[in-house]
Amino acid sequence: MSQNKRTNRSIAAMFRASLFWAIMGAILSFAVADLNPAYFVIFAAGTIGAWFGSVRASRPAPRAMINTVLLLVVSIAGIETLRSGVGVSAFAVFVALLLVVKLLDLRGPRDDGQVLVLCLSIMVAAVLTSNSFLTGALMLIESVLLLRAFVLFQVYSVVRLGRTPGARADRRTRIDMRSMILGAGFLCAIVAGVIFIVLPRNVGNRAFGQWGAGGSVSGFTDQVELGRPGRISMSPTPVLDLTIRDRNGQNVGAENTPPVYLRGAVLEEYEEGRWKRSSIMSVPLTDRIRFLPANASLKPRGTFDNTRWDHEYEISMRDVSDGPVYLFAPWRPVEFRVLAQPIRMGFDFNRGLFLKDGIGSTTLKYAIRAVNDAFRTPVFTTESTRRLVDQEAIDPEIASLAYEIVREGGVEPDPARRPLQQDAAAVRLLETHLRTHYAYTLDEQPIPRGEDATEWFLFERREGHCEYYASALTLMCRAIGIPARVITGYIASDFNAVTGQYLVRESNAHAWVEAEIAPGLWRTFDGTPPSDFHDIHVPDPGLMRSVAKMYESLEFLWGRLVVGYDSDARDQIMGDRVGDFGLSSLSDRLLERFAAGRTKLVSRAAIIALIVFAVSMFIGIVLLRIHPIMESVHRFLRALFAKLGISFGAGSVGVSEIERLEQVIDSTLQRSGIPRPAWRPLKGHLEENEGVLGGKPELFASLRDAMKLIYLDRFSSDVSPTAELVSGLIDDIRTSENTGSMHSPNRE
């Protein structure tokens, strides 16, 4: 009995514990999804406070207090909604607040159920907030926690309704419950996986408009406003995945190679520290907006040789919002290809600009083929002329600095006298000067009133971030008569050898320069000191970085297999193109038998689902019975070892052995024609039926001995029967059962 008390656990306590962890899991999931640790700190503190102050003490707060706090929460939510509109994040915060309040008001099973539903709501909100790998992993963990909590909630509700609040779960109950949760979880995962794979995609996209704030690419901006703080993002949130292949389809990415520049916006107009798009630039983009179906290609007309591309850049942008979004591309693109999903977009191949318009998707995949102008030798003819630049618009101080730098480098600064072939060298001199004489910093300082931001950077502060360098280099290039423009986008330098992809994060947002070093030949220059920039933006290699890379590999797989699962992937799985463990061919054969005619996707999907379901059911049942099976194996092995004479010592007998002894007694009684009703105590039943067993006194004696041992084990903490003793008694029972009738006359 004392052993039972020690091992049996209160169902109420088990449920409460599972509820607590489900709540904490939901809060953590949302905080991670929203990238806001403050949420976790605040709500976890509130939960723990309410838990120990009210729930564990079974002391719900007074109704008046609950109503007051509830009113406060609703008011805060209302004000927040009016202020910033309805959003998933605000909704989740409101629900989390409600949850904490509800914890102060737990009065019955109904309240417990409401808390669980609130947890579920927070989890859904977390999923809507982010689809990162970490959110997904936490969602899976939270699903298991919620599953357990829901299962225990049902048991707890029954206990409460049956007015047996002190009910306890013994070891067998807990084992069965664990098996049940395991089996149910496994089945749910399999069925959910099948449904996930089979459900069609690209149907009904944005049929009900945009829900929630939607994702957005951040860290990048198509306007450079020097001196304005808060524009530089250090967030490690992934923005896009990039795979680079050569013409043979080989992946050409590598670690520790020069970064890949992915262009977003082209900024050509400068005014008082601000760079913005040329007004004429928007026209061709918006004019050329068109709908591109999946797998459609765009190619420039006229001036480009589309066949001579060097690399193909496959880009997968994550969290793409509705409305205009820059599609990042390398310079110089010669072909744009939409991959899985159709999009509506505008483009300008001359400037290398691509703009998605209209509704988007969570992820957007496209491929760009580009020529690498960096390794292409400019071709000059006698008719080649430099494009005119408005040098007068450049500040004289900046112009004189540019002239001085170029002249010191041995190149003629005056464009009228400088040959075209020396333009590239002139720009390189300016680039080198900025890289060597200026420092990189992310510390933003206010620009003195009345001063030009670029001039202040060049002559006074002499340190700044990429936008200052890009602005300064562009203006200096223009000062010496070379057309130049500021480009904003991302640099891809973080290559993952496992996935073969570059991972571009918000912190990789960058600004650089393109200068026209020959007619029509724009080349990339970057005045930002590369070492400083890398120190800040690219993490150091080391153990943590290796771990981070492993995580990124998982994140890649997550993104590829789950987040990026689309109709293409679905067709591949459901079709014959990739191996599906032979299920497709099996379903085809079955279909041929059952329905003549062409194989239909839905029918095939149904058959695959059925097969997978049956297999998973089998595995689920095996999981469900894993403990009894293991026990049977254990018993068999023990019996085998006992026969072989191998002893493992006579330790204290376990609960299962005593149960086994009781089972043996019951089965013996049943065979003897006196089955014991479940509610009747063993002792009473044996004594009552002594007469029936009169012909087998040895059997009766063995059964009585076994019964005594069971009672001793149950009601005396001092007695610890050994396994040998139990086995001996079982042997006695069996022997006397088989031979009792023959022996009894002799005894008499």
């Binding site: 829901f150 049902q154 029954v158 009910a167 959910a192 099948v194 459900l199 998707s361 987040v563 009894p628």
Partner: protein
Amino acid sequence: MSPRSGQPGERAVRRESRLTFGGLIYIGVTVFVAIGAVNSQNNLLFWLFGVAIATIIVSGLFSGNALMKTRLRARVLHEVHAGQAQRLHYSISNRSSVFPLFACLISEESERVVQHGKLVPASVVHVAPNGSLNASGSFTPHARGRYVLRDIRLSTRFPFGLMQKSLVFEQARPLLVLPHTLHLRKELISATPSHGEQVLRRSDRGGTSNEFWGLREYRPGDPRRRISWKHSARRHDLVVIEHAESFALRIWFVVAEPSRIETDEDRIHAERAIAIAAGLLDQAGRQSTPVGLWYPQRSIRFDPSSGRAQAGRAARSLALIQLDEPSEQLTNVPVRTRDRVVLIQRGSRVPQPIQASRVIDTERPEDWMVAPETLPESLKGKV
């Protein structure tokens, strides 16, 4: 019949499934998630939708399979007084060798049980595969009478509470609910004149007793064996011995109800009278006081007798009274000399032709209850 096949009635006569309120909300949320997934093409929402559907399937699968091979047997019920809890014992066995049975409630379905009593269902946390278990709930009837508990519902919402699956078993178990046990004042019996006291009187029947009463002259017709020859010789005249016999004074409880029970108030007072009568009989039975019950309107007559068996028999008769049936004429109690009559009725005026030495007025609980505030709710009414 093999041991595994079970007794008749152990198998469910029908199975039922219904969507719970929580399940309804869950389906609503699932539809919402589906719309969200389709609308946003968010694969995590697709996954969540898959999980939601899978949960519904698994829920139905697990609960259905666990119930498939469940057997239940209810134990025979004993008598109980109204207002007292009757334990309902059940034996459940799970014949499935794979699926354990979890979180079940066993409740009674009979209409009368639901309407006229408070039922606490039996809860079953777990029955292992091939295992069995005893569970007990309780039924507290509010009113006396004959009940038949027939339909037993074993239901579960396990594992997720989305569906409620039930098995209905038919096992008729009669239950006789005796009238309420009221905590009556002891003086109701002790204050009744000559209550149960043992007195001696001259025996008319002669000399069976050892107690000597006296001598008298012989009268013609006296049995000759009563002649005391010794005394006759001394007195020179025939004398006979007279013996004394023990004589217990008896109490009759007479219950009188209105000629027609028309209102709820009438019914409540009739019930009170029945409960008081049962209580007094029980009290007298415990004191070994010879009491009788005279309820002419319901054809109930128990001649005075002592002992608890008498009280039990009377209580059973009182339990079976149907107040809806027409009552008979009120007639006088067949009293003997020195019998006392206690009338239990509404009001203090003794109706004809009853001759009562004391009246217990059902309208005045303070006169007959130790703590009037403990009067059961079903006997309180709007009085």
